[in-house]
Every structure is written in C-alpha cells, then in structure tokens.
C-alpha cells in the first residue's frame, strides 16, 4: 500500500507541481494517475522512490515513512518502468534484466537464470537474451523494461507512461499483458498515463489530476465515467464516456434471443439475415437471403459479422458493440468456446441498462 499524506512539491522556481495530495494506492491494485500534461503525475510518481523529495507531507509504503529509508535500498524494492525504456545500451538484454538482483548481491548465475525466467514471463524469447537493446523493437524494449523492473520481485511497481511510445496495436497487447501479469503477481502498481482510455482499462482506481497538481477525482473507472466530480473531469474523461462506461456494467441480466443458423451448403432461407455457423456452431458470417435468391449458402457469399459478445466475460459495452457492428442488427452472443448461444439487439442492451440503473448501479 502506498499512502500520500498531504504531499506538496514546490520546485525552486516556484512551480507547484503537486498540491496537498492525499491518496491511498491499494496493495495489490493498479492505481492510475491520469491528467493533462504538466499536472504533476510524474512528480507524484517519482516522490515514491525518492527521485524527487516532497516539499512537505509524507509518503508511506506499507506503513513505513520512506523518508526514513536509505534511497538506494528503497529503490531496489520498487520497480520502475519509463516511457523510453531507459535500458542500458551497453548491456545485453539478460544483463539489463538482471540489474537489480545483481545490485542485491545475487551471484551472476542465479541473477541471469532469474532474468531469463522474467523474459519468458513478459513474453520475450530467450534467444533475445544475448542481444543489445538497440537490436530490439520498441515494443520488445518496453517488455524488457517491465522484466527488469520485476526481476527482484519488488512489491511495488511504478510505471510512467510505459506504453505511450509504441504503436496502438503493440500498446494494446502490452496493456493486456500487464493485466495478465498483474492477475498472477498482484503487485501494488502506480501507473501514469495521459490517455484516459488506458487509465480506464488498466486501473482498479483512477486518480484524475488537474493542472497545478490538484487531485480532481479518485474513483473506480466505472464511477469516473458515470459520475465525473466536476466539469473538468467530465471534459477530460471525454465525449463518449456514456458508451465507454458500459464496459463497467455487467451484462448478467441481459436476455439472449433466438437466432436462425444455417451451415455452408445448406439451402439459405430467403428474405432474412441468417447466421452461418461451422460444425461446432462457431459463427462464420451472415447470409443475406434477399440478395442470394434462395440458392444454397456459398462460403464466398458470407457477409462478415461484427464483434462477438462473449457472455462469459461480458459487459453491456461488448453486447451493444456486437449489436451495432452486426450487419443484421443482431449481435452474436457466444460462450467461452466461441459457440453461438443466440443473439441480442441494441434495444435489449438499453433495456438492461435501464434495469441496472433502477437497481442502483453507478451508471
């Protein structure tokens, strides 16, 4: 657990970067700091490992005031990942990852073995071990940065815009990877970003800062989207927050309707949209009976389906998106194995939303 108690940071030139910050980042949770450029996110983060000293107030990590700890020692117990990866260009990947274990006095063999383990954990093949950072892609370098931060198994992990320098596809996969890692490792993570979507996706709780280093709102992502504290948070969270907020509403009560299915080669029903499935009842696409004129379903005639609504991990957002992106207007609901369970319409989703609101969900 990381506790900020009335923490203020004023730089010598008079800039107040952080203004009386009171905040608790829960143990084993991902806490995201988000806000516009210059609002004090990095400064707040760097006070946790004493790269910056607060002007006043105190910070406690697992109950101990960090001001009483030797900075170098403290830092060896706090993983730190930054945007530009900050890897040592003169060291091989395996030695980069082994840095903190070596600092802690492990022998070289054990540190390297641990490093290889970590590389695998973050999805890097061991063949990369002997390369230098310049021989890796940006996405791979970020993974190395994460592996390096985790090598000595620190309870706390600080991440400062770690994924913002990579392209959107790589970023999404790195985010998913982080969530998977976190579900295994349960670190106390503080994650800085200026991207509200990233904040909402990763954060168990999200702290929105405004310029001047003032905490504007600190809440769970669902609450942030549905009940922004003020106009600033509202505009920062963005236009389609209503839609994005659906991610945090469970689709448990959503009724799943019938859907007519057909297999390739069978005669296609005329005049209606029919869902084409394979032998396992997995969806292949839609068959448009009006344009096909009654012949058998040809694999080449299929209209690609929209996104699928996985009922196992479903949110109303996934359900609504499935309905909206389907050519037939009916979203395809599937089970964990990807087999068709039925279909849903956008109006079903809206009705479920109204029910959830009546039941008191924060939507």
């Amino acid at each position: 657990m990381i506790e900020f108690r009335a923490v203020t940071k004023r730089f010598p030139d008079g800039t107040t970067a952080v203004d009386r910050l009171d905040l608790v980042a829960g143990a084993g949770r991902i806490t995201v700091f988000v806000g516009p450029s210059g609002c004090g996110k990095t400064t707040s983060l760097r006070m946790v490992n004493r790269m910056i000293e607060p002007t006043s107030g105190s910070i406690l990590v697992d109950g101990t005031d960090i001001a009483s700890r030797d900075p170098a020692q403290l830092r060896r117990g706090i993983g730190y990942v930054i945007q530009q990866s900050g890897l040592f260009p003169h060291r091989t990947i395996v030695d980069n990852v082994a840095t903190v274990p070596m600092l802690l006095g492990w022998n070289k063999r054990r540190a390297r073995a641990r490093a290889v383990e970590l590389m695998e954990l973050v999805g890097l093949t061991p063949e990369l071990a002997k390369r230098y950072p310049a021989q890796l892609s940006g996405g791979q370098q970020q993974r190395v940065g994460v592996a390096r931060a985790l090598a000595a198994d620190p309870p706390v992990l600080l991440m400062d815009e770690p994924f913002s320098a990579v392209d959107p596809v790589v970023r999404t996969s790195l985010q998913d990877e982080l969530l998977r890692l976190q579900s295994e490792l349960g670190k106390t993570v503080v994650f800085v970003t200026h991207d509200i979507d990233e904040a909402v996706k990763l954060g168990d709780k999200v702290a929105v800062f405004r310029t001047g280093g003032v905490l504007a709102q600190y809440d769970e992502p669902g609450v942030l989207l549905s009940r922004p504290a003020d106009g600033f948070v509202d505009s920062f969270v963005g236009r389609d927050r209503g839609y994005r907020g659906l991610s945090f509403v469970s689709s448990d009560g959503l009724p799943i309707g019938e859907v007519v299915t057909v297999r390739v080669g069978q005669p296609g029903p005329a005049e209606v949209w029919t869902l084409v499935v394979d032998e396992e009842r997995r969806p292949l696409g839609w068959f448009d009976g009006r344009s096909a004129g009654g012949g058998p379903v040809d694999a080449d005639d299929l209209v690609p389906g929209g996104s699928l609504y996985d009922t196992g991990s479903g949110s109303l957002r996934a359900a609504l998106d499935a309905a909206l992106s389907s050519p037939s207007g009916r979203g395809v609901a599937v089970d964990d194995e990807g087999r068709v369970l039925g279909s849903i319409g956008a109006d079903d989703v809206l009705r479920a939303l109204a029910d959830a609101r009546r039941a008191g969900a924060a939507v």
Partner: protein, 218 residues
C-alpha cells in the same frame, strides 16, 4: 638501406625507448583525467575552471615544459621522469575535456533509470556512466597517443632518447637515410598505437555500433 641494416640494434633500442616515454604518460594521464573529468561534470563552475585550466596547460610549449620541469621537480635535466611528467600533463589536459564531454553525453534517461534501480552514485559511475563513455574516451585517447608519440621527438632535441634521436643524429652527421627512417618509424609507431587503440575500443564496446543496424521502433 645499408645504414638501416647496420644499425638495427640501435633502431630497436630507440623504438623501445620511444614507447617507454610515450605509453606510461597515456595510462597515468587517463587515470588522472577520469576523476577530474567526472568532477568537471558535477558543477558548472567546476567545469569552467577545470576545462580552462586544461586548455591553458595545453598551450605551454613542449620545449619550455621539458626545460622548466627539472626546476620545478628538482630533477636532473635528462631524467626521464621529466618527459613522463610533461607528457602526462598534456594527456590530462587533452583528456579532461574529453572525459567531461563523454560523461555529459550519457543520456539522462539512462542515468535516471540507473538511479531509480538503486545504484549508489559511485557504482552507477563505474557500471553505467563510465562504460557508456568509453567510445568517446577512446577517441580522445587516440588523439592523445598520437600527440604523445610525436612530442617525444621534441625531447630528443634536448638530449632524451627515442626515435627523435635519429633526426638530430642524422642531421649532425649528415645521414639523410637516418632522418628519413626516423620519420617513417615515428609515423608507423603512431599509426600502430592508434590502430591498437581503435581495435581495443571496438572490442570493449560491441554495443556502440549497433544503432544504425537495428530499428528502434516497434
């Protein structure tokens, strides 16, 4: 050619002497310049003072230094220590700036990352900043080496050994062959030491020439 063949033993002796005069100052000079360069990089005033001082030292004419040092050090005029000290001064003067610049060129991101991982300042210097400065320092060392090798010949004018002896001797006894061979040998020595340092630097920093071969985007 007959002069060369008749004097192989002398040539060998002078070459060894030449190296004996020029290599120790390089090593000692580097060892002194490293902490000074680090110091120069710590504060703005430290940098100004040290770098200007180094620049000033470098402007002292070598001949004057060879003559002055015995007075300052209380040594005999032909004591080899004088040459070693003089060349060490030049090496330090050259390298302080190089070391300071090389350390300043280490990306702040990397230094910060090292600090954040829990390196103590000294350990960070030895494990991160210094190794990353090696390519630039070696480049400076190559310049210092070539200049030391050529400066040793100045010492020969006032009576020290080394290949410069072949200039003075060849001139006095009118043996053009000796002068030519002397010049060629000094050049060859400079090139050889320069080449060795180049190779040494590359072996030490296999990572330094990777940047153009690999992309850094995702």
């Amino acid at each position: 050619m007959n002069w060369v063949l008749a004097n192989l033993e002398l040539i060998r002796e002078l070459t060894v002497q030449h190296l004996g005069f020029s290599l120790p100052p390089l090593l000692i000079g580097l060892l002194i310049a490293l902490p000074l360069g680090w110091l120069a990089n710590r504060t703005r005033t430290g940098r100004t003072v040290l770098i200007n001082l180094a620049g000033l030292l470098f402007t002292i004419p070598s001949l004057a230094l060879f003559v002055l040092l015995p007075i300052v050090l209380g040594t005999q005029i032909l004591n080899p220590v004088n040459v070693i000290v003089a060349l060490t001064i030049y090496t330090v003067a050259l390298l302080v700036r190089t070391v300071a610049d090389a350390l300043a060129a280490v990306p702040q991101v990397v230094v910060n990352a090292a600090t954040a991982m829990g390196f103590s300042p000294l350990r960070r210097f030895l494990a991160v900043e210094l190794p990353m400065a090696v390519p630039v320092i070696v480049a400076g060392l190559r310049v210092a080496a070539v200049s030391a090798i050529s400066l040793v010949t100045v010492g020969s004018v006032i009576g020290f050994g080394g290949l410069g002896r072949m200039f003075t001797d060849g001139f006095q006894r009118d043996i053009p062959q000796e002068i030519t061979v002397g010049i060629v040998l000094v050049l060859a020595l400079a090139l050889a030491v320069d080449g060795l340092l180049l190779v040494f630097g590359r072996v030490l920093t296999p990572w330094a020439r990777l940047r153009e071969t690999a992309g850094s985007t995702a």
